[in-house]
Symmetry: none
Subunit: 190 residues, 4 copies
DNA sequence: AATGAATGAGGTTTCATTCAT
DNA sequence: TATGAATGAAACCTCATTCAT
C-alpha cells in the first residue's frame, strides 16, 4: 500500500482542493455527503478539513458564495454605457444561462439551496435582488410594465429555479425554456 | 401489579395520534424534530412509533399525503356540470387558497417539501398535475392562451409556492397575491 | 465470538453498573479514564452511557456526590442528645476515618478533587463546612480555643487531605496520623 | 524575496520568550492553555516550540522549576552565621511570603500543581523538604517542639498552599494569614 | 399491541506532534 | 534554526432503529 505522502501546499491551493473535492461529491450525491467523504476525495486528513473550515456548514457557505460569484462573473448584467439595452432579451438570456448553469450543478444546488442547510443558514436573496434590479431598469426604459418589482422578481426567480430543476431532472430543455420565456415576457410586458 | 397497558385506542386512532403529534411539532420546529420528540408529544413509547411506521421517512410520507388530500378536499376543483366555469377566477382562487393554506403550515412545508427528505423521497407532482388540468380545461374553454400546459403548470406552481413561502416569512400578503395574480393572468391570457 | 447479548436492566441498576465501572477504573487509572473505557468495563454500548449521563463531567459529578454522601453516612457527626461530646476525640476520629477512606480511594480522589475536572466544576466546600461545624460546636463546649472557625477549618481540611494523599502514596500511616493529630489538637487547644 | 528569517534571538533568549509567553497565558487562563496559544503569544511557529521542548509537559516542568527557583531566590532561608535565628518568625514570614507569591500566580499554580499534569509528572517535594529543614533547625535551636519534621512539614505545606489558594479565590487575606499563623505557631510550639 | 432500555454506526471537532520545505 | 501545513488518533455526543420483556 503506497502511503500517500504528505503534500505541502499553499493554503489557498489546499483550500481550493478541498472545496473542489466537496463540489464534485455534492454534485454527485447531494446533501448525503459528509466531512469524511470530502477528506477522502481530497486526499487529506480529517484534521486538515477543520484547519480550513471551522465547521461543515462553513464549507457549504463558502461553496454557496463561490457559486453565486461564479455565475455573476460568467453572466454579468449589461450597463447602458454601450447604448440602449434590450431588457426583455436580457431577462431571457439570464434565465437561459441560469437554467444551464444550475441544471449542470443540480446536486450542488440541492445541497446548498434546497436542503436543511439552506434552512439553518438562510441566504441573503442575492439572485432575487439581481432580478429585481433588471426589472426596475427595464421599467425605467419603458420595456416592462408596471409590476411590483420586489415580489415579482421573487416569483420569477422561483420559476427560473424550477425550470433549472426540471431540466436537471430530465425534462425537455427546449420546452422548459419556451414555457419560461413565455411566462417572463408576458408577466413583464408593458 | 399489572402494568397499566395502554390499550385504550384502536390502531387507527393510535396512528392518528402519532401523526397529529408530529404535525404539531413539525409546524413549530421544522425538520429539527426527532422521533424522540414525537413520541413524547404523542404520549407513546418509542417502540410504538415503529410499530406504525417502518421508518421516520414513512411518517413524513404519510404526513405529506394527508396534507395534499386535505387541500384537495378543502378546495376542490369545479366541474362544468353546474354551468360554465370562470377559469381565470379559479386559478386566482386556488392560488390564494394555497398561499393561505401553506403559509399557515410553513414549518410542515419546510420539513416535507424543502428539506433533505424531499430529496430522499421525491413526490409525484400531484399539485402540478392538478394545475396542468386547470390550464388544459381553461384552454379548452378558450379562457387561456396556447401555453404548454405541463411545463407551464410546473413554473406556475413554483411561483405560487414561493409566494406562500414569502408570506410565511413575513412578506406583505396583499402585495404577494397581487404580483402572483398578475403573473398568472398574464401568463395564461389568451 | 459470543455476542454479549443485550441485558435489559432497571434504569437505576444500569446506572449503578456504569457508576461502579467508572469507580473501578478511576481508582485504578485516575483521570486518564475516558468514556470509551467505562463503557467497555460496564459492558454497555457507548450510547447507553449518554442515556444516563448527559456528559462525562456529569458522571464525575455523580461520583463526587456519591462519595461525599458515602462518607457522611459511614461517619456521621455525633449529637449532644446522648450526653456531652468529646470534641477533640471527634476531630481525631473524623481525621483518621477520612485518611483511611480517602487513601483507599486515591485514584478516584485524584480524578475528582485534584484534576482539571475539579477546576471546571468546583465543589461547594461540603467537607470544610462540616469541619467548621465541629470546630464551632467544640468551641461552644469550651473544648476548643478561640480560633477563627471558617479559615481554620479550611486549613485543617487541607492538612487532613494531604495526610490521606501521603498515606496513599506510601507514607507511614502511623506517622502521618500522629503528626496530623498533633497538629489538630494543638491548633484547636483551648 | 527572501523570507524574513527570525534569527534575531539566541537560542536561550528564544526559549525564554516561549517560557514567558506560557507563563502569562497560564496565569490568565489556567490549564486550558494550549500549544497553539503559546506560540501565538510568543510570536513563533508551532514547530519552533517543539524545537525547544520535546513535549508540552516538558514546558510545564520547566515552568515549575523556574517558579520554585524564583521563590527560593526571593525568599532565601536565613543561616546562623549572622547570629541566632528567630525560627517562629521565619516560619511566619515564609508562610506569608508564599501566600503572596502563590496567590499572585493562581492560574499558574492551578495548571502546574493542581491539574492532571501534576499527576502525570509528580514533583520532588522541594517545598516540603525546605519546610522540614526549617522545622529541624528550629528544633535544634529549641524553638520548636518535638514534632516529627517530615510528616509535619508536609501537613504544614498543605495548609500554607490552601491559604494561598483561598486568598487567590477572594478570601480575606488577613483572616487567612492569622488563622495560618495560629496553626503554625501552635503546631510547632515547644 | 405496547414498552422503553439498549444499541452502535456515524458525525463533528480538538490538538499535541510531525515533517517537508 | 525556523516554519506552519498537515496529520490522525481520540474525544464527545446523536439518534434512528432494534428487541427483550
Amino acid at each position: 500500500m503506497p502511503k500517500p505522502l504528505r503534500r505541502r501546499l499553499a493554503p489557498e491551493a489546499r483550500r481550493r482542493e478541498i472545496v473542489e473535492a466537496a463540489e464534485r461529491l455534492l454534485q454527485a450525491h447531494g446533501s448525503r455527503v459528509r466531512v469524511e467523504d470530502v477528506v477522502r476525495e481530497a486526499g487529506v486528513a480529517k484534521g486538515t478539513f477543520f484547519l480550513y473550515f471551522p465547521s461543515w456548514d462553513d464549507l457549504l457557505e463558502t461553496l454557496r458564495d463561490r457559486l453565486v460569484a461564479e455565475f455573476d462573473t460568467l453572466y454579468p448584467l449589461p450597463t447602458e454605457v454601450d447604448g440602449p439595452v434590450d431588457w426583455p432579451a436580457v431577462i431571457d438570456a439570464q434565465a437561459a444561462a441560469f437554467i444551464d448553469f444550475a441544471s449542470a450543478r443540480a446536486g450542488i444546488g440541492q445541497a446548498l439551496f434546497h436542503s436543511d442547510f439552506a434552512e439553518r443558514r438562510p441566504l441573503a436573496d442575492h439572485a432575487i435582488v439581481r432580478l429585481a434590479a433588471i426589472v426596475r431598469a427595464g421599467q425605467e426604459a419603458q420595456a416592462f410594465g408596471p409590476v411590483d418589482p420586489g415580489p415579482t422578481a421573487r416569483l420569477l426567480y422561483a420559476a427560473i429555479d424550477e425550470a433549472a430543476h426540471a431540466v436537471a431532472a430530465g425534462a425537455d430543455r427546449a420546452a422548459m425554456v419556451a414555457a419560461l420565456q413565455t411566462l417572463l415576457r408576458r408577466t413583464l410586458a408593458p
